[in-house]
């Protein structure tokens, strides 16, 4: 049973969404463990215990297990599949981007593939070179998948539920450092529409487009900038595919200046957002489009080096000042 609107953390919001779905629909089934991560929030998983074998803990066979979820979704279940660290989903890359992504389209629309692949992504303090990858750009690059990235507990709940009821394969990426974030979350079967950006803060001087954890950093940056009388607007696309181009362009039309904040490397989401604006919002641009994302090397383990790689409020604010100076 789901609570009515109440404070909960990001991890609890995801679990709440799953409980709502499983209570409302016997076809909803879960694959995976550690959905709430391994930190203090891990306890949220306990709410799933009563659902017994509707939650399956699979072997370490990412590729076949991803296909198990896809096949099961074609046969009528609505699957929520959690990979744990996103890097483990690299082992099922073909299964997600070449099988799940194509399944519905390839069948001429005759098959449905209501599977949601969820995972943790990004720089997480000490992940080192093999456990710090950003995967969202890579998934968004492969057509056929819907790609969603909640930045708040409410969006986490609403995007889980919308994903579960989409008949296309969806990939949801969760930043582990967000799991403890607390905020108000609507009760019941709350859905967040795909392709609708959220404006977290209105502003007029510069648009900061931010994704996932960078939304929190962008809001901090906006506060810093406010102190210097700079009014920043913070926009979160929430879903990369479909991408709310109109929403982003509307903000740019207002400010004429853009900073894109994303943890991912080049050739990814920040690139796409900048490219869309450079093509469709060019007329309103007053200054270069700045990207704040990770340098293009593997992620070192050494803590200061990792911090150097990680976008944050200071870096975003500095970029905003550069566009205003330009």
């Amino acid at each position: 049973m789901s609570q009515s609107s109440s404070q909960m953390n990001f991890a609890e919001a995801i679990i709440d969404a799953l409980c709502v779905a499983m209570d409302n629909d016997p076809k909803v089934s879960i694959i995976g463990r550690g959905i709430s991560g391994h930190g203090a929030e891990a306890g949220a998983d306990k709410r799933l215990a009563p659902y017994g074998d509707r939650v399956l803990d699979p072997p370490t066979s990412e590729a076949a297990v991803a296909m198990l979820s896809l096949g099961a979704s074609m046969s009528g279940l609505r699957m929520f599949h959690h990979f744990g660290s996103g890097v483990f989903a690299f082992e099922a890359w073909n299964q997600v981007v070449n099988e799940a992504a194509n399944a519905r389209y390839m069948s001429g629309g005759r098959l449905k593939s209501p599977v949601t692949y969820c995972m943790f992504h990004g720089l997480r303090n000490g992940g080192g070179p093999q456990h710090s990858a950003s995967l969202h750009g890579g998934y968004a690059h492969n057509p056929g998948l819907e790609v969603v990235m909640p930045a708040t507990p409410a969006d986490a709940k609403g995007l889980v539920l919308t994903s579960l009821y989409s008949d296309n394969a969806t990939v949801m990426l969760v930043h582990p450092t967000l799991l403890a974030l607390r905020a108000d979350v609507p009760g019941g079967d709350y859905r967040v529409p795909f392709g609708k950006a959220a404006v977290h803060k209105q502003g007029k001087d510069v648009t900061i487009v931010a994704i996932s954890r960078q939304v929190t950093e962008a809001l901090k940056a906006a506060d810093m900038l406010a102190k210097d009388g700079i009014s920043a607007e913070v926009v979160d696309p929430r879903t990369l595919v479909p991408l709310d181009e109109a929403g982003l362009l509307a903000s740019v039309a207002k400010t004429g200046r853009v900073v894109v904040a994303d943890e991912g490397p080049n050739f990814g989401s920040a690139s796409e957002i900048a490219a869309v604006i450079a093509e469709k919002g060019f007329k309103s641009l007053k200054a270069p489009i700045m990207r704040v994302n990770r340098p293009h090397t593997p992620v070192p383990f050494s803590p200061d080096m990792e911090a150097f790689m990680t976008p944050d409020a200071e870096k975003i604010a500095a970029a905003a000042r550069r566009t205003l100076a330009a």
């Binding site: 076809k27 089934s29 509707r54 399956l56 699979p58 072997p59 066979s61 590729a63 076949a64 297990v65 296909m67 198990l68 979820s69 896809l70 096949g71 099961a72 979704s73 074609m74 046969s75 009528g76 279940l77 073909n94 299964q95 070449n98 099988e99 399944a103 519905r104 389209y105 390839m106 069948s107 001429g108 629309g109 005759r110 098959l111 056929g144 008949d167 296309n168």
Partner: protein, 329 residues
């Protein structure tokens, strides 16, 4: 098996053969795009297995998929249309010959990735089990699937969770020619056996033997005893990987079953020894189950039906090009 069952197997194999022959004709007549993966020569395995299934059992296949769909009664006009990329195709022309999909006759996604169909079939088995269905899941795949780690993982999942899935493996690996699998196992079945899955092997040329073995395997799976691995050993048809449309073994003439003198050409040996249709024709005549005229009559009907379907498909329209950019919501 009674006469009716045995003739059904014969007709099913012929349907497949005549369908694939018409695919070759299409490839010759139209500037055909994409590579052909034809089922010719494997009809004994496909017909024998498919006729052991119920209508609601769900199968996943590889890119060499035509045979199974024909066997279970998919609309051949829609299949030909798909091969030609037409709007009237099974997949509205989006999938093409490697991905023919027809849920109405129990076929979900067909994957062109080696290792794709086996893992999807395991997922379908999971879905059927969770929904309390009596239907079973079938994976049709070749020996190459056991080269892929995902094939091994899928077998393990099925065994671990006792899933209702029949693993129908067509083994045409052959030392000498580059085989479609390079497995260090002395016998393919050692892999499923290591994962505690019961196995059986049968001569894939002998459609009746395959059918009996498949019925037993299906019974095991349907009884809730978990997965079963059935291996049909085959000799690869000389044209099984052809890039250019051709009839390396000619258009099948079933009278070769009683007039072997007609068999000639560089692949005469394959035709004599491995064509499952001629082999069953011989047995049916040998034990007087059917006469030459009965067999010829079946062939005439099948050939004409197939040609009609092909011609209809050739006349059918292409999808609107710009619809390519439309997802199915």
């Amino acid at each position: 098996m009674n006469k009716q069952e045995r003739l059904a197997l014969f007709e099913c194999m012929l349907r497949i053969r005549r369908f694939e022959e018409d695919v070759i004709r299409l490839a010759m007549a139209h500037e055909y795009v994409g590579r052909q993966h034809l089922y010719i020569g494997a009809e004994g395995a496909g017909a024998g297995a498919c006729l052991a299934l119920n209508k609601d059992d769900i199968a996943h296949t590889t890119h060499r998929n035509h045979g199974y769909l024909v066997a279970r009664g998919s609309d051949r006009m829609a299949m030909f249309a798909e091969v030609l990329g037409r709007e009237g195709g099974t997949n509205k022309g989006r999938g093409g010959p490697w991905h023919i999909c027809d849920p109405d006759v129990g076929f979900h996604s067909t994957s062109a990735m080696v290792g794709g169909s086996i893992a999807l079939a395991v997922g379908t088995a999971y879905g059927l089990m969770k929904q309390g269905s009596k239907a079973i899941s079938v994976a049709h795949f070749g020996d190459g699937t056991l080269d892929e780690g995902i094939g091994y993982e899928a077998l393990n999942l099925a065994s671990l969770f006792k899933l209702p899935v029949l693993f129908m493996c067509e083994n045409n690996a052959k030392p000498g020619q580059r085989p479609s699998s390079m497995l260090a196992a002395k016998h393919l079945s050692h892999v499923p056996a290591a994962l505690d899955i019961p196995t059986a092997a049968v001569d894939g040329r002998d459609v009746e033997a395959v059918h009996e073995a498949a019925k037993a395997a299906v019974a095991h799976v349907r009884a809730g005893k978990g997965p079963f691995f059935l291996q049909a050993d085959l000799e690869r048809w000389p044209g099984s990987h052809q890039v250019h449309a051709a009839f390396p073994t000619g258009v099948t003439d079933i009278s070769m079953a009683w007039e072997p003198g007609k068999i000639e050409g560089k692949h005469a040996d394959w035709i004599k020894t491995y064509d499952p249709i001629l082999l069953q024709a011989k047995t049916l005549l040998g034990d007087k189950t059917a006469t030459q005229d009965e067999l010829l009559a079946i062939d005439k009907r099948v050939t004409e039906d197939t040609a009609r379907a092909r011609e209809a498909a050739e006349k059918s329209p292409f999808p609107k090009a710009e619809d390519a950019a439309k997802q199915f919501a």
